[in-house]
């Protein structure tokens, strides 16, 4: 889990060097921590080794293509947000990407502002979801408290359930 003050981390997977550098520069200026990889198998390795708040993924990649990377990540039960960034822009391509588990699909050439907004939203949403999932050990509503550790509800009425 990332600490409050830590920069959100993004894995950037793009083989086109000039595009990669420009993207990295922009995302760093926006205050993200970037890890750069240039092909599909390196991406899978990085995802296995490290936690990321978001993955930005190209489709046409050396060795393993982006669609396959997405599929593999989802098969490993990893729910990290994935944003696909691709030159393939037919609706069939988008549908395929989203079907295989991508959270968002943006086509090249893209608008910088739009990309940054989508990146921000995906990371934000994911964080909120994680906060919800990790509720503390007790949950209370009204006068009632549920202690998840004891696996028994503690009620004001002193009634005991087994």
């Amino acid at each position: 889990m990332t600490a409050e003050n830590k920069k959100p981390s993004i894995l950037l997977v793009e083989d086109e060097e000039n595009l990669h550098e420009a993207l990295k520069l922009n995302l760093e200026l926006e205050g993200y921590e970037i890890t750069s990889v240039y092909d599909g198998s390196a991406a899978l390795k990085a995802i296995g080794d490290e936690y990321f708040d978001l993955i930005i993924l190209d489709v046409m990649l050396p060795e393993i293509d982006g669609i396959n990377v997405t599929e593999t990540v989802r098969l490993q039960n990893n729910e990290v947000p994935i944003l696909i960034l691709s030159a393939k822009n037919t609706s069939a391509d988008r549908v395929l990407g989203l079907k295989k588990g991508a959270d968002d699909y943006l086509t090249k050439p893209f608008n910088l502002e739009e990309l940054l907004l989508r990146v921000h939203k995906l990371i934000d949403k994911n964080k909120k979801m994680q906060d919800k999932e990790t509720i503390g050990d007790t949950y209370s509503f009204g006068n009632n408290v549920i202690d998840f550790k004891r696996r028994k509800p503690k009620l004001k009425m002193e009634k005991q359930y087994n």
């Binding site: 000039n18 595009l19 922009n26 046409m60 050396p62 060795e63 293509d65 822009n89 050439p109 910088l112």
Partner: protein, 297 residues
């Protein structure tokens, strides 16, 4: 049909039995019977030979259809690959240029970074330009509408200019040149530039950054040899004859290391033919390939 033939014989025999008494005119009967049997045999042969002929015709037809369909499928697949590659090749430079310009617009960066972004953008527009040249020329070729413009020119100067431009575009790469001066040939400047650019671009694409690219131009008897050598992975022998085919690309389109349209070498070959020159590829030592264009003078 065969059954019909058999029935015909039986019917004829029966009729013969009814009209001619086999005992009284034995000779006539056997003559007639022989004729009937003969008819039967001939009919059989006719049916069989007709059947075989038709069967063969159908086989030949099927083979033709199969071949045509296969060729069509292969061509279709190549064209699909080509479309995919072109989409990628066209969109990537546009994406980079747009992203860089938007970055410059959004932030006030220090001059060093600004310069770098601008240099990257220029390199991408150059790439876009050479790609559109390739596509335009190949479609003109297809429509047989390209008119070449042959004139006396200094190949040495042209070659040097092209290499110089590439050095500017890729300052981190090393180009070694051994270009003899004053090699005059008759040629089309636009096409020759395209030829040299395609070969240089391939050399850069298929070799790693720290490896040098060697450009040489020399005269050998009655030929001028222009060669561009890289120290990349090289090309397997079985691939060598295929790389000059249109749309041909080594490997799988989705997961390749380098992008391209499969037009570059095909056009290089066509341009060489325009100039009555040969283009060939050989292995470089210790690694990589050498592309050589030999102009006859």
């Amino acid at each position: 049909m065969e059954k019909q033939n058999l029935q015909m014989r039986e019917f004829n025999t029966r009729q013969l039995n009814a009209t001619v008494d086999s005992l009284s005119s034995h000779e006539l009967y056997s003559n007639e019977l022989a004729k009937i049997n003969d008819d039967y045999r001939r009919g059989n042969i006719k049916f069989i030979s007709e059947g075989v002929t038709f069967f063969l015709l159908i086989l030949v037809g099927a083979a033709f259809v199969y071949r045509a369909a296969r060729r069509q499928f292969k061509f279709h697949r190549q064209q699909e690959n080509f479309m995919m590659a072109v989409t990628h090749e066209l969109k990537t430079p546009i994406s980079v240029a747009r992203l860089n310009l938007e970055t410059l617009q959004k932030y006030s960066l220090d001059p060093e970074k600004q310069k770098k972004l601008i240099r990257m953008t220029l390199a991408e527009t150059e790439r876009l330009n050479s790609l559109t040249n390739n596509i335009l020329f190949s479609s003109q070729l297809e429509a047989e509408r390209y008119k070449s413009d042959m004139e006396e020119l200094d190949l040495s100067d042209l070659f040097k200019d092209c290499v110089h431009q590439f050095q500017n575009r890729y300052p981190e790469r090393t180009f070694t040149t051994a270009i003899e001066i004053d090699m005059d040939i008759k040629g089309d400047i636009f096409l020759l530039q395209m030829l040299i650019n395609n070969l240089l671009e391939n050399a850069i694409k298929y070799s790693s950054k720290e490896k040098p690219i060697t450009c040489a131009l020399k005269k050998n008897n009655q030929t001028i040899l222009m060669s561009i050598a890289d120290e990349g992975e090289g090309i397997a022998d079985e691939e060598k004859p295929k790389i000059f085919e249109r749309f041909y690309r080594i490997g799988n389109e989705l997961t390749r290391k380098t992008q391209g349209t499969g037009l570059g070498l095909y056009l290089s070959k066509i341009i060489s033919q325009y100039h009555n020159a040969d283009i060939s590829v050989t292995n470089n030592i210790p690694a990589g390939s050498i592309f050589t264009v030999s102009f006859k003078i």
